[in-house]
């Protein structure tokens, strides 16, 4: 019965919020839409260039290293560790949002702390990977890798790789800063006084978006 009433609710007839979320949260969604199109434009231009090339480097060959182990026979192990870290920090972020619903300040702080740690761990991994690739001679405008068929590769590969993972890494970095600010605000009882932890949810949306983008970056650069 209650459900049927819900369905008949006239959301657009005035007097209520048609999206049934707080203004800031809706605006965060719209911001993320615009950001999604920015990332989309980057990735699709990468795809267009790749489709217009006769050959391309093999990711299994390029990304085959792991810290301390040198070149392994298991390519992609390091990047799967990075993926795992990011998914894991997404989980702790949701748990922080959940603790916010329960107005449990200590738990919110604990999970925000874990999320920040995850973000920093991811950034460290990326810093290592960039350093390693740089030592191998890869950078913007420089590409030491050959195509999968042994032909000469252009610098498109490294240019796109560093630009897109760099742009994503910059988002992770901003996310970590935002999460640190949220942690401090929680600690200072800002949300306790407001009576709700909706800011944590908005920061959470941003953080999940960063994870979402990584899913696509991962597929486009490491699997294709």
């Amino acid at each position: 019965m209650a459900q049927a009433m819900q369905a008949e609710k006239k959301w657009w007839s005035g007097g209520k919020s048609p999206f049934n979320v707080e203004y800031g949260k809706l605006m965060m969604w719209y911001f993320l839409m615009s950001d999604a199109f920015t990332f989309g434009a980057f990735l699709i231009s990468y795809g267009t260039i790749r489709f217009s090339s006769n050959a391309w480097p093999d990711p299994n060959h390029v990304f085959a290293s792991f810290p301390g182990l040198g070149s392994t026979h298991l390519p992609l192990v390091f990047v799967s560790l990075m993926t795992f870290i990011l998914i894991m920090s997404s989980v702790t972020m949701v748990l922080a949002v959940g603790a916010g619903h329960a107005k449990d300040k200590k738990k919110v702080m604990f999970y925000m702390f874990l999320t920040i740690l995850g973000g920093i761990a991811f950034l460290s991994c990326q810093a290592w990977e960039w350093t390693h690739l740089h030592e191998e001679g890869a950078w913007w405008g420089r590409n030491p890798f050959l195509n999968y068929d042994g032909t000469q590769s252009s610098t498109n590969f490294t240019n796109f790789f560093f630009t897109i993972t760099g742009f994503h890494g910059f988002h992770v970095f901003s996310g970590v800063i935002i999460n640190i600010i949220m942690l401090i605000m929680t600690w200072k009882d800002v949300f306790e006084k407001k009576g709700h932890y909706l800011m944590i949810e908005k920061a959470g949306l941003y953080w999940h978006f960063v994870d979402l983008v990584w899913v696509f970056v991962f597929t486009c650069f490491y699997l294709f």
Partner: protein, 143 residues
């Protein structure tokens, strides 16, 4: 801030489902493991022209992961239909975006190979493998 208050009280009606989050986590982890297994062990055993079919598989798996992150972690599935639509409908633009641009890239490749034979021959010339760790190209060198 009236909105904020009504939104909070609305959210409090649902108890927070920690189980669903961990289930989503395991689904994401499982899909990633499948992708990695295929990428590391299965795909390299097949000739290169088959790779496009593995790519189709990756696209489906990636879309599944994206769905779970948006629906569960970002909670969109549990919002009202109006909000879901204001996000999902504009996102459909990506279908055109992808199709049009990849088609364009492919067409450019074919035209170039057809009308610029020199480019085609050059792109078929093999380079002997250099020592790993040493740049095969000088900084700033283009194809």
């Amino acid at each position: 801030m009236e909105n904020a208050h009504s939104a909070t009280s609305h959210n409090e009606e649902h108890s927070f489902d920690t189980k669903a989050i961990w289930r989503t986590f395991w689904v994401l982890l499982a899909i990633t493991c499948v992708e990695l297994t295929v990428g590391m062990f299965i795909a390299p055993r097949y000739p290169h022209h088959i790779k496009i079919w593995f790519n189709v598989l990756y696209i489906f798996l990636t879309a599944a992961k994206a769905f779970y992150i948006i629906a569960e972690f970002m909670h969109l599935r549990h919002e009202i239909k109006n909000l879901i639509m204001t996000i999902a409908v504009p996102a459909l633009l990506f279908l055109w975006f992808l199709g049009a641009f990849l088609w364009d890239g492919n067409s450019y490749k074919n035209l170039r190979n057809n009308y610029d034979r020199n480019h085609l021959e050059q792109s078929k010339q093999k380079v002997e493998e250099k020592e790993p760790g040493k740049p095969a190209q000088k900084p700033g060198a283009l194809d």
